[in-house]
Symmetry: C2
Subunit: 325 residues, 2 copies
Amino acid sequence: MKQVLRAAVVLAFILVFCQTARADDPLLSWNDGPAKTAIIDFVEKVTADGTADFVPVEERIATFDNDGTLWAEKPLYFQLFFALDRVKALAPEHPEWQTQEPFASLLKGDTKKALEGGQKAALEIVMATHTGMTTAEFENIVTMWIATAKHPETHRLYTQMVYQPMLELLDYLRDNGFKTFIVSGGGIEFMRPWTDNVYGIPPEQVVGSSIKTRFEMRPDGPVLIRLPDMNFVDDKTGKPVGINSHIGRRPIAAFGNSDGDLQMLQWTMAGPGARFALLVHHTDAEREFAYDKGAENALKEAAANGWTVVDMKDDWNAVYPPDGQ
Amino acid sequence: MKQVLRAAVVLAFILVFCQTARADDPLLSWNDGPAKTAIIDFVEKVTADGTADFVPVEERIATFDNDGTLWAEKPLYFQLFFALDRVKALAPEHPEWQTQEPFASLLKGDTKKALEGGQKAALEIVMATHTGMTTAEFENIVTMWIATAKHPETHRLYTQMVYQPMLELLDYLRDNGFKTFIVSGGGIEFMRPWTDNVYGIPPEQVVGSSIKTRFEMRPDGPVLIRLPDMNFVDDKTGKPVGINSHIGRRPIAAFGNSDGDLQMLQWTMAGPGARFALLVHHTDAEREFAYDKGAENALKEAAANGWTVVDMKDDWNAVYPPDGQ
């Protein structure tokens, strides 16, 4: 009996010790500094029961932009690399693309020229590669691509270009009762096949841009067909709209990196009680990319309002997950 | 020491006994019969680890229609009663409504005549009463109405016209790891203010019809304005579209009562593995309402495919929650 008791006490100590060691630094890849301190202060504040700042679990909603916030976005949005690969794969079925822009330039390997047509050209490429199949077929195409395609510069899988510190942040928030959502300008059905594996964010917690779909009863059962018709653009002023439509509650914390996230951050910060807004600032040309372009307004507003700005170079001791993860 | 031990043993027995008593009948308001048996068989099958029918927790998605499935829908959809009450409340600001249909008839108390204009008249009433304010203002209006408005025939609060057996079913599914969603033709923002309290379904698990909203930065902060412009009709073929858009996974169980739910049930049943489809059949003129109208196709398909059909009169020993709940 005594021995059993002693074993139990030892076990209890081990459990407590392990939990303490882990709780000591939930954000291992974050250097000590104002950003890390601000995150931890906020989480401790809203989870301290009995205080004025306490937020009930069901209201702990955190929304994350994807491109440039959870994974890299240079030299092009990764979804655009996907679209370019799809143009190549589909070219044999589209002989007209050999002479028709933006496809002709793409097929000659001149991505820059192909994208000179701006948003119109990009939309044309997306529609040609993202629609005309069932949702199940598209899911399979994305799943196969994301498992094998590699970034042209780092030669990493795209899913190995997610930010290790942000993975730790997602875990830390969830360990503290937060429900984490993606709210991205990227395609909702481009993200859903892999966000659960990579970020721990299930399909029903992904908000993004979308094309329309149509229900069709086929002889072998019902399908949803992806139509070449935009349904919703989840960017800029679209982000609060998407949040309201999908989540139906205002987040208490929001994370972004660009002007496309500004309205999401404004919307989040305008609610009552404790709130948190964070911008990832790309300052690390050596380990990732360094650029302010497209984030000028967000950075200005962050400075004016005291939002947390992550200096990737100073604040993160790791950028991508260790090789082979 | 002995006394403490004895107390602990007694307490353990009480706990086990209570849990057993509860587990014995999670569906107290359901009479023994094929519907109740089918529900329990399905749930036990998909939760039995190590069997071919086992479904991991994260894929246990169940979708419920609202009107006629979770609460009553006669003599009119309850949201239409809300709209009619809003017309009366807003009439002083709209002198033109005194002569303009469908408002003029409504204000004279002739609902039937007002709705003779069919869908166009209903849409006009909905747009006039559901748009032109911020999302926060609309939420307040709904919250106040639902707390006080009473059904013209039963004189119950509308939230006391939810079906007690369905509340038990929602709890039973959630106790077995299911995530429960509403997928309703009703307005998404008409439901969200009260579904968590009434059904235990949080805003982010409500899918419904919607109007467009626009983000606007006002001097006192950002708002979302509700626009008189339909965004999405979550009915019939729209239900699988709404499920795909909001949830991004196919449900393994779906619950409806009318032809508006048919495609949701078809979509649910077309997936692989164990599946469940249930139709609430309104057969109880005494305790609720008896009608097949609008459910003819769904009832036909249920019979053809062996879906579970609930005969309200025979299968439910209670319809509404006890008074005063």
